[in-house]
Amino acid sequence: MSRDAITVYVPRDSTALALGADHVAAAIAAEAGRRGLKVDIVRNGSRGMFWLEPLVEVGTPVGRIGYGPVDAGDVPALFDAGLLGGGDHPLRQGEVDALPYLKNQERLTFARVGITDPLSLEDYLAHEGYAGLTRALAMEPEAIVQTVLDSGLRGRGGAAFPTGIKWKTVAGARAAQKYVVCNADEGDSGTFSDRMVMEDDPFMLIEGMTIAGIAVGATHGYIYVRSEYPHAIATLDEAIAIARRRGYLGDDIQGSGKRFHLEVRKGAGAYICGEETAMLESLEGKRGVVRAKPPLPALEGLFGKPTVINNLISLASVPIILARGAEFYKNYGVGRSAGTLPFQLAGNIKRGGLVEKAFGLTLRELLEDFGGGSESGRPIRAVQMGGPLGAYMPQQQFDTPLDYEAFAAIGAMIGHGGLVVFDDTVDMARQARYAMEFCAVESCGKCTPCRIGSTRGVEVIDKLIANQDRPQQVHLLRSLCDTMVNGSLCAMGGMTPFPVLSALNHFPEDFGTPNEKAA
């Protein structure tokens, strides 16, 4: 790297790639060559401001100046405008760190994402990477578990169970072999934070899992990644190889005598394999059928051994908790919702992307202040929060603070932090039908209310839409949902009624039943 080369950043995150980032990088290299200018192109992660992707940044003495969204065809004009000196151009966004969308976030877990080269261990180390592991290696395992417990971290994969308690159970179990499994199935529509960590800051996940392994006495970890994420799998594989080569994974981690090995396993397109016990079955080489609990996976998990199974963001939050301490983390958030969550703004929204904030802000702040309203410019009518099993929320609920308990109180769910926005052209009866259909297709088939109930649900909603015996069908649909909620073994069948009933209760006019009052 010559000293006079100017650093230009072009993301390698898959959303940026899907919008042409590779072509932009090639065009920048070619244009610089033609003009005899020296550039050093770094393929960073994404800042998560997807409406600006591909977002090209140029390092200048006054900070990184961004241009976006850049098309390869814009590159000559950008150079004419003095791109390498941060020159003026209609695509110029100014200093990236100062953009309100970023400046108003509280990025703890995503602090490095978009800034560093995801596969540069030097970059990682220079930005507080492995500070958490270094602290952990100097602690007793019990103290690591206690730190996670004290931080108030709750599982980010949906159920919000305290991570420290789960770890404590595994740490206390006696067995010759224990495992750490990272749930990177991320099957929920509207969520992409797991993907971003894998593609844009993979060492953070590796570090978090290593700390988990040391804390509970597990020497082997698996990352179960969905097959829909080829870029994430490739990046993780590379990062694991680098970490192993540099002594951050293996039989003697940084000379500590501690051992931890890590492996990526690819899923195969089954939504239910995001459910933790179905994931274990899948990892064992079987159909992804849900197991009854007990036994808890913490005691009898993968191959019958004690297993920590956590969502990817839960594990990725651990390094900063260890590096900065439990108090630091816990001071973010409200009530029993401690810390931050990477919210994901998706669907019909003007500024879709990733917003990491402490719990406690409202949905409306996310939709309006960050999201800028709908992309179509039409009124936002409904938001589905927490994935396909989450409720559809109407305008009247947008002031609910993002806090696990406040959401539960209105029958909604924060889940994975993904929100999908619909404008007023949405047909909520069709969305309810889709929820049932999705359940019918993705059910593991183990229990009847889910397997058969969802198929019947589709039929009933079809009759409702076709105006056959409406009051009768509404009654039937409610009783069917009741059976699914009460009779299903897991949340697939148990929560599919949430989107269905919330659509029916809040948007009855779409079902042709405007007089039906919310139950």
Binding site: E53, S189, F192, E228, E375, G418
Partner: protein, 159 residues
Amino acid sequence: MNRQQIFDVAAVRGIIAERKGMAGAMLPILHGIQEKVGYIPADAVPMIAGELNLSRAEVHGVISFYHFFRQQPPGKHVVQVCRAEACQARGSEALAGQAQDLLGCAFHETSADGQFTLEPVYCLGQCACGPNIMIDDELHARVGADKLQRLVQAKREAT
């Protein structure tokens, strides 16, 4: 389809031999075979069953459980259109219709010329910029009718 399935038997045996020692080897083996052959040939089932000490029914049960595994050869290119909620909110159902018209086949089918297999997918993790599609291993975001037409045309011309 009932045509004779021809595949590289030695390569499949190699994949099985190389991976059967892994803990929970089934999925890694199936992925290896599908990457190599493009699908899981029926004749591979007894080979896997024999090496993993399982019944054929068990192996078949696993293959048929997972959406990702194919039991028939796909077209030359696989076009996956995301039909999950966030893409729906951005017009993916219209795109799904256009894709069927353009490729001349329904979802889960292959076009008559064997060029394209059309599949639904439920979220590609690009939900802020839908509608999204994946062609082979390439992602494309903000796909409207024109862009779809261009992408498909480019694949047609490349062959």
